[in-house]
Amino acid sequence: MSGPNTDYDPVEVTPLKAEQVDEMREAALAAIAAAADLDALKQVRIDHTGDRSPLALANREIGALPPQARKDAGQRIGQTRGAVNQALAARQVVLEAEHEERMLVEETVDVSLPTTRARRGGRHPLTLQSELIADLFVAMGYEVAEGPVVEAEWLNFDALNLGPDHPARSMQDTFWTEPAENHVVLRTQTSPVQARTMLTRKPPIYVVCPGRVFRTDEYDATHSPMFHQVEGLVVDEGITMAHLKGTLDHFASQLFGDGITTRFRPSYFPFTEPSAEVDVLCFVCRNVDPASCRTCRGEGWIEWGGCGVVNPRVLTACGVDPSVYSGFAFGMGIDRSFMFRHNLEDLRPLFEGDVRFSSSFGSEI
């Protein structure tokens, strides 16, 4: 390994002779080639091109030479310095590459280590189900209507053709608030939102109303005092049951899959006349050999909700002229739809709040 020439004395020698310059070059190139790493190369650079290097000192002496000699020496030293710098640069590239390669190898980690350090959040599946349903209708041009859950008795019942002595009122299992003479209830259905919509908008009306509703049902695997409904209301000229059927068929196919249709059975709701129960084709067995199907319990169809043509009495109470407009309405349980869509047999996990339940659904269903 060659180091700097410490015996060198610029005063006593004439460093500008060709042989001497060649020696400097050889020494520098040898040192460069021998530099094993970037630190060594840095030192070589200082020793052979730095201010106190032989070449620098020689360069400084050029000025003292006569003009002819100055030119030759200048050329010689210049070429030599160029060659040394070139060699330095080339060696630098090689050593940097070696260094990088070594570093990258040394920095190797175990990528299979666990990485999760923050909690994962999630939205409630019923919220997601409500939003999904709302989106299906918004895509058809509907708007989403809303109203309060603590509601006026008149809007929850009377305006919907459920007079004070209507036997259907006792079917509703209503939570009443005190004092009773205030006539305030927890809404038993999202239908009062439909009444509110008709009272505040002019037809044509195309709305869906998802929301919480309350019934005095004891809490068990299939009943909850609070659950979620989505209702739809259309009021326009020339609306018929056929439009209702078309809408629900479309809704069913969007929610449960292509080809899933609905079936109507006569029923009774004071709000609508004619009224129908809506069954949806079982999306698991599609009514092909349903006997062994657990989803529809062998029926081939699943009870989904109720619907009908808006009773003209309701239109009248809500300020819509039944001689001009007709409409349809439908209502489905969001919780129920979720339960059979996701194969959940006991509804209680929906309201128990165990984070393992909700977080498994993330933010989209």
């Binding site: 919220t127 603590v150 005095t216 439009h243 043509v309 933010s363």
Partner: protein, 828 residues
């Protein structure tokens, strides 16, 4: 309504080969929904036939029992015609008897498979059955001995034993009260099943003409009781048994057999739909008077309950006083008993609304009440009473009294005008006027006219009052399954509202920050608020009370979401979910004590003022957000130590939500339950308080089963959403160089950092681009009761490079104001 099929078919014919499934499918499609078909023999398969016992040899056994080795003639049912050898343990029969015999290959209830097996030294090929073995009751004393005329050996025994009798259970909608009877269901079969014919109306019978010889009856309230029919049977044998077919039918219909007299009234009610009441005629004193009750009157009803009557209740009285709650339940004093020999039969038509109110007022539900409150055919009182008299005389002996009392006349049915094309317009199906008329006539309406039809519904259909009701009748008979499927074309919609989009954004923000959404019930009790540590005068104790809560412990609608989320958090911790972050959004109920929500008319739209008054009468129901976090925010691992949740996480999460709406939240010190009094922040936006956040009070943590240092927040989302930035202008930033200056200020520990920052901001002027508190130090170097706040300030001008010293001057001005405002001392 549970209806034995044979009973239905006693009143209407269906084409031969009509299956029960077809019948119920058709009825379901026209509105009587099938719930279930049950039959006692549904679990029996294979050969179950009549056998004639030819021989029986008693054979005592070592175990003390004696078995009978029998040969039984089963005709050709065994394929050979030879007698069948069967071992039988019973002794209640003799050679020559007809018995129910199950042959090898048969399966009895419980999956009990019958084969030929070696037993007691014989090959026993089958079994002679007891009632219990066939699922016909608990009688196991012996085998069933059939009547001598039951049939021939080898005949199927199922029809003989009623094992194949099917009972159909229907769900009856409130508007189809007529279908709460065999009469109504048979009529539905007639109109629903193709080829059904020959309806035989059980109420269509010749009845004796009214006369003056019957029991005297005065109806003082003809609106409440338009028709009252009284008949009498005397010399009745109170010990007479109810015939088997009546017992079987009323049992199948879900009613309990009691005595012949009671069973017959129930039987006729099921058959005709008309509730009947029977009095012990010897206990009725003088004339019957029907009227409304008077204040203070009481009655002990058949169920032994002493009831205070309401002046709106319809009552039946005699000289002794009140003897019945008309149409709902009879009284104790005239109840038929095991010694009753004279029966007064009442068939009366009652006002449905009164029935409904009385039933609800006294909390009585009964088969009679269910029919009376939904509406019964008012024209069949005489027929029903006559049918009861006939059955009482037929099965209980005695004599029908010649007296027939009939008071009042059935109310007339309304006449409805309906457009002939209404059914087509409503259904979207091409239903002609002729088809509509046919359908209406099929359900019993009288129809005349064309274009506009004049329709009188039949008396058993009080539900038909409006044109739309008639339309439903037409469409259901044409068939809901024929309604075409057509999508309407709504006008272009406007999508979700701004508020709806923001609420979704809030939920996604929280989930993205690691919070899990929960849904809880909004019911609370005062103990929940005690657990929160709310003082007695806290506004959140002003609660809306439910009249009929599910739980007496939680009778109120909550004013805060905190009890629900804290309770849920506690449950999660109990389940081992200890590193927890949950949230809930939902409306809370804040009473306004603003008086009643009026019951408005329904024959017109409410005025805008009336509608506004309804809303004003409701409690305020702002949308709230509550969140709770506990345990570690960042878990520990190979990367380093865990970071536990702190009070600041609760505030930060609200800031995160607010930022999603383009809002800045200011936090200032507050003291509000359920938070730690030194670690509670009042959160404001634009100077308005929107909620609170911080560490939960240790006592509250304990009450909810949560670890210490659990944090929580509750904010009013309506207030945030109201203020959310709607249209944000695009930002512009300076591309000139930034100048950085750091300052450290020592202030009293009680000085809020926010005040120091505010003073620095104001003092620094408009060149200040940002300010960041990067260190808070307390300790020896700053002295007791002091803290050092270190800020990094960045200065930049929008339009130029700052001049030498400009940033330093701005920094000095900032410090000067902080010194002046907060008593700060700049740290060297």
């Amino acid at each position: 309504m549970k209806a034995p099929l044979s009973w239905i078919l006693e009143h209407v014919d269906v084409p031969a080969g009509t299956t029960t499934e077809h019948l119920t499918d058709r009825l379901t499609l026209t509105g009587l929904k099938l719930e279930a078909v049950v039959s006692p023999g549904r679990d029996i398969t294979g050969p179950l036939v009549i056998g004639r016992v030819l021989t029986m040899e008693p054979e005592p056994q070592k175990n003390g029992k004696t078995i009978n080795w029998c040969t039984v003639d089963v005709g050709d049912a065994n394929g050979t015609g030879e007698p069948q050898g069967i071992v039988c343990g019973a002794h209640n029969f003799a050679p020559g008897d007809l018995v129910a015999t199950v042959l090898p290959g048969g399966v009895l209830p419980g999956g009990f498979e019958i084969g030929a097996r070696k037993t007691y030294g014989h090959l026993s090929a089958g079994m002679i059955c007891s009632a219990r073995e066939l699922g016909l009751g608990d009688d196991h004393d012996g085998i069933i001995v059939l009547p001598a005329d039951a049939g021939q050996p080898g005949d199927d025994v199922r029809p003989v034993l009623g094992l194949d009798e099917e009972t159909i259970e229907f769900e009856i909608n409130p508007d189809r009260a007529y279908a709460l009877s065999i009469r109504g269901i048979a009529r539905e079969v007639l109109v629903s099943v193709d080829g059904a014919s020959n309806f035989r109306d059980p109420a269509d019978r010749d009845t004796p003409a009214p006369n003056a010889d019957g029991h005297p009856v005065v109806v003082e309230d003809a609106d409440g009781c338009p028709v009252f029919v009284a008949r009498k049977v005397t010399g009745f044998d109170p010990t007479a048994a109810t015939p088997d077919h009546i017992v079987q039918r009323i049992t199948a219909a879900g009613m309990r057999p009691i005595s012949l007299a009671v069973d017959v009234t129930n039987y006729v009610m099921l058959e005709t739909g008309r509730p009947i009441h029977g009095y012990d005629a010897d206990k009725v004193q003088g004339a019957i008077v029907v009227r409304r009750a008077r204040d203070g009157e009481r009655l002990t009803t058949l169920d032994g309950t002493d009831r205070a009557l309401d002046p709106a209740d319809l009552v039946v009285t005699d000289d002794s006083g009140i003897i019945g709650l008309g149409g709902v339940m009879g009284g104790e004093t005239t109840e038929m008993s095991g010694t009753t020999t004279s029966i007064l039969v009442e068939a009366a038509h009652w006002d449905a609304v009164s029935m409904y109110r009385t039933g609800r007022r006294h909390k009585i539900t009964s088969e009679a009440g269910k029919r009376n409150e939904r509406g019964v055919d008012p024209t069949i009182c005489e027929a029903a009473a006559d049918r009861v008299v006939e059955l009482l005389v037929e099965h209980g002996g005695g004599t029908a009294d010649s007296g027939v009392t009939v008071v009042g006349t059935p109310p007339a049915m309304p006449v409805i005008e309906v457009a002939g094309d209404l059914a087509a317009r409503v259904s979207g199906m091409p239903i002609t006027e002729e088809r509509s008329i046919d359908c209406l006539r099929a359900v019993g309406c009288e129809v005349s006219g064309s274009g506009t039809l004049t329709v009188t519904p039949p008396p058993w259909r009080p539900d038909l009052t409006d044109p739309q009701d008639l339309t439903e009748e037409v469409i259901r008979l044409v068939g809901y399954d024929h309604v075409p499927s057509i999508l309407p074309t709504p006008p272009s919609g406007r999508g979700l509202t701004h508020s709806q989009r923001l609420r979704r954004r809030i939920g996604r923000t929280l989930a993205g920050d690691g919070f899990v959404e929960v849904v809880t019930f909004p019911f609370v009790g005062t103990s929940d608020l005690d657990d929160l540590g709310l003082p007695a005068d806290d506004a959140r104790r002003d609660l809306l009370r439910l009249s009929n809560p599910l739980s007496a412990e939680a009778p109120f609608m909550t004013t805060t979401l905190l009890p629900g989320v804290l309770r849920t958090a506690g449950k999660n911790v109990g389940h081992g979910n200890v590193d927890l972050a949950i949230f809930e959004t939902g409306a809370v109920t804040l009473p306004r004590h603003s008086g009643p929500a009026a019951i408005l008319p329904v024959d017109r739209r409410p005025t805008d003022d009336e509608f506004a008054a309804l809303d004003a009468a409701l409690p305020a129901q702002p949308l709230h957000l509550a969140l709770v976090a506990a345990g570690d925010a960042v878990s520990g691992g190979w990367w380093g130590a865990a970071r536990p949740v702190t009070w600041s996480d609760a505030i930060e999460e609200v800031r995160s939500v607010a930022a999603a709406l383009g809002l800045d939240v200011t936090a200032s010190s507050a003291d509000l339950a359920p938070w730690h009094p030194g670690r509670c922040a009042e959160l404001s936006v634009d100077g308005e308080v929107v909620g609170h956040a911080g560490e939960v009070h240790p006592r509250v943590c304990q009450a909810f089963g949560l670890p210490k240092r659990t944090v929580a927040a509750e904010v009013d989302l309506d207030l945030l959403i109201e203020r959310a930035v709607h249209l944000r202008p695009a930002p512009s930033f300076s591309s000139y160089p930034v100048a950085k200056e750091d300052v450290a200020l020592v202030v009293d520990a009680s000085v809020p950092a926010a005040d120091v920052e505010a003073a620095l901001r104001e003092g620094a002027g408009e060149l200040l681009e940002s300010i960041r508190l990067f260190d808070v130090y307390t300790g020896d170097q700053v002295g007791e009761g002091k803290k050092s706040l270190a800020y990094a300030l960045r200065f930049r001008a929008p339009d130029r490079t700052l001049k030498e010293g400009e940033a330093a001057a701005a920094r000095d001005a900032a410090v000067a104001l902080a010194v002046e405002r907060t008593g700060a001392v700049q740290r060297a």
